[in-house]
Assembly symmetry: C2
Homo-oligomer: 501 residues x 2
């Protein structure tokens, strides 16, 4: 049962259902759809988006929300009822601020820019993509103008990290960058570990069986999830009882399947853990991508690449690939799983350098929307930062500014949530580890339930009731803070890469 | 591009897209959805149905259709434009006749009755299902009252066979029943063929590879279809470039996979052949289930169980199951594929007795809506007819009146379309065979393209512009007529089951 009833519940459920329908269609498009189905699918998704938008900005919904707000007596400000109404009101007000024409124009421009980006990336030519990106940025500036904000970037950030302020995020990401930069320098100078156990010949069908087993060992209830092949791994939930994980397989590198699956399962168990009472309301699931990424990262890096869990993973790998892993122990796997290498491509980056990739993008986005840089100068600025922060020369745009789809899709304000996720993961992990004295032993035995129960109790129950900062405050008693992540990285990589004297 | 433009095109495309979204969700529900996703999926489908209904009966759509109708100068009555507007007007008028409350009550009652049917069938107790069926029939009688029709059954039939009249269908099905009854008697007395090559041990994964190959040999364009496992085989098209086939596998019987796949592919190639110019209009695909079934049946029975095609199938079967088929030739396979056995279960019936199962249901439905029989007396009437027509005693309700879900789902008027499909298939086959003198040789070589091209030219191009009778008239020059089917069955089974003297 929903926490809000009558017409308002029906109106909100309808919007939520339309979102679930679109989610299923996105999943299908990337996993099952026959290739030629693409153009009809685009029409279909655009129809659903239009109908959803109509519902979201309707006068009727505004009236229902007004009535509900004035009828909240007996429900405290943290009650499910009050939070659902607050979140719904916020979304309604936000959607109403943007003229329908601009919304439509942005959608059209993004769709065209994404196609242009694909061709430009293939050809490795930023110049061909430039006019499209300029148009998208121009429209996004007009989008920003629809809102009264302290900083223009606030309006963009809010779409992915509701309630976050640019200055707070800049402080967090800056602290993180300054904290890890010297560590990266040191690690680069240290001896590189032997990663050979993860590289070789790993037939896809055997990898697929292994991946199914790994996903099945994650704390899901039976009959609530599935795992499929795709190009770019993602997780999608249709409902909290219907979670779709995806992964891809590299026949010469086993790491993709292992940690992409655990990463996506991290997103998945979070969605699967959402309280049923909030289902089909706008607070049914976290709106904060930072919170979401904290879960995928925590399961991937703190659990999945942690020494204890790898102990439970070794026998499983031996079962599927005895020829490789019969001679490999948990220590060797641990070193291979955590090899650091300064590289140009974000999605292939290790736990340590990943945040530098994010910092570069975030800083460029800020300059763009503060008007300190033009779109035409982005490439040069990009390449300069890769030289400054990672000591790498960008050989071409494909390995540089054209690597991510985000900007083509208008997703300015998205990148910082990746690092926020890492930061929050470290904070939550420290708290969980303090509460669960036997955590290491449990993970070494492959028992993920106690950690999962901790998250259900401390995180999942908040669902989408609060933004990231307030959720973290409620769990840790303090603000979002990069210090625990910096400490974690120094501890872990200091040990893995001891200083060569 | 659509044949109708502007606001009307957009309104019709929206209704069509919502239908496609629901189709994808149905497909997913029956092939991919994690088990526990069912209850959220029911909500989601009901939301989509409600939104679609709102759109279909809207005053705005009525106004747009009025305006379009009075602006048709230059477009003849058979033009795509005129037919799209005529079909859309008909659907709008029909949807408007039924009060929203009754529509909702029917949907609710059917959903409840389907669950009750499942339990009743499991327990084998019609009595437990009886009150639910009575409620559904009562509502359907109220539904009938919303229309001005010559015969109450006309209103029901029209939902599945637009424009068909009860008296015409009764004449066709009666003629068919009378034509095949003596043949069934004779075949029952004849020597039974050796069916052993289709029974044995057929590992599912090898069957799946075979089925993929068979589906891939059907006249689809690459990248427009897929085949998945399910419980009850069906085909669904999301667009004409995105066709989903499904099948099930019986590890001890190979026939299910072979002919269910060809049957569903028959539906599929029909949908894939729909003209692009009509896409996203109500005439985009046939509304007549009889026409649709004519295609699945034609590919399954006339092609797939025909002697020529089986010649091309034998080498394929030998490749996948050499231990069974190395010693089996096309003649033996032909006899096994066409074995006749009077049985109690419709979905397992052979080509010959199938129509008797349909006739029984149709006759009972007629009596029910003519008020000549009560729901409480249905079981007795059912069992009596199985005795009369097939000489079989029904041992329990599971093998009797509880075997089909249709009535629980309120689908009165649906059954006759199965036999109409067989009748039409025979008519179209005769016409195609007359036009394609080398058809047998082409099928024996596994070349299905000439037959497919004939259907594209003669059938597919009409899409959903006309009902079954008018479509058949346009292709054959005459009415829907059971004589060709009766002649086909006599010819085929007379030869397969020669009279024992």
């Amino acid at each position: 049962m929903s926490v809000v009833d009558g017409e308002l519940a029906a109106a909100l459920a309808e919007i939520s259902d339309l979102g679930s329908a679109a989610a299923l269609m996105h999943w299908d498009e990337r996993t099952k759809m026959p290739r030629r189905g693409a153009s009809a699918r685009a029409e279909l998704l655009s129809t659903l988006a239009r109908i959803t938008h109509e519902r979201r900005v309707s006068d009727e919904l505004g009236r229902l929300l007004d009535a509900a707000r004035s009828n909240l007596d007996g429900h405290g400000p943290d009650s499910d009822e009050a939070r659902v109404i607050a979140v719904a009101t916020r979304e309604w007000e936000k959607a109403r601020r943007v003229p329908a024409d601009l919304t439509a124009e942005i959608a059209r421009a993004e769709s065209i820019a994404e196609h242009a980006w694909l061709s430009a990336r293939e050809a490795g030519e930023f110049d061909a993509f430039l006019p499209h990106l300029e148009h998208v940025v121009d429209l996004k500036r007009r989008y920003v103008d629809c809102f009264e904000v302290d900083h223009p970037y606030d309006a963009l950030l809010d779409d992915f990290e509701p309630g976050a302020s640019t200055s707070d995020v800049a402080a967090i990401l800056g602290g993180l960058r300054d904290g890890v930069a010297p560590l990266i320098e040191r690690v680069a100078a240290a001896e590189q570990p032997d990663e050979s156990c993860l590289h070789g010949d790993f037939p896809i069908d055997r990898q697929r069986r292994m991946a199914d087993e790994i996903a099945g060992s994650m704390p899901f209830e039976p009959g609530t999830w599935r795992l499929d092949d795709t190009e770019h791994p993602f997780a999608e939930s249709i409902s909290s009882d219907d979670v779709r994980l995806t992964t891809r397989y590299d026949p010469t590198y086993l790491g993709t399947a292992i940690w992409a699956v655990i990463h996506e399962a991290g997103h998945g168990v979070y969605e699967a853990g959402m309280p049923k009472g909030l289902a089909r309301t706008p607070a049914a699931a976290p709106r904060s991508l930072g919170l979401h990424e904290s879960q995928s990262r925590l399961w991937e890096n703190w659990v999945g690449r942690g020494r204890p869990f790898l102990e439970s993973l070794v026998p499983r790998l031996r079962e599927h690939f005895p020829e490789t892993f019969d001679a490999v122990g948990p220590d060797e796997l641990y070193r291979a799983a955590n090899a650091v290498r300064r590289s140009l491509i974000r999605v292939e980056a290790d736990e340590l350098t990943y945040n530098i990739h994010v910092a570069i993008r975030f800083e460029l986005e800020l300059e763009l929307f503060e008007g300190r840089i033009e779109v035409a100068d982005l490439r040069e600025a990009w390449n300069a930062r890769y030289r400054d922060y990672l000591g790498l020369d960008v050989p071409d745009d494909r390995a540089g500014i054209l690597q991510d789809v985000h900007w083509a899709g208008g997703a300015f304000g998205y990148f910082p949530t990746y690092s926020l996720g890492n930061v929050i993961a470290a904070q939550l992990w420290d708290r969980a580890a303090a509460d669960l004295p036997d955590l290491d032993a449990q993970l070494a035995a492959g028992d993920l339930r106690p950690l999962h129960a901790w998250f259900a109790e401390n995180l999942y129950r908040h669902a989408g009731k609060y933004g990231a900062a307030e959720t973290v405050e409620r769990i840790t008693g303090g603000p979002i803070d990069p210090a625990p992540l910096v400490a974690h990285l120094h501890r872990k990589y200091g040990e893995l890469y001891p200083v060569v004297i």
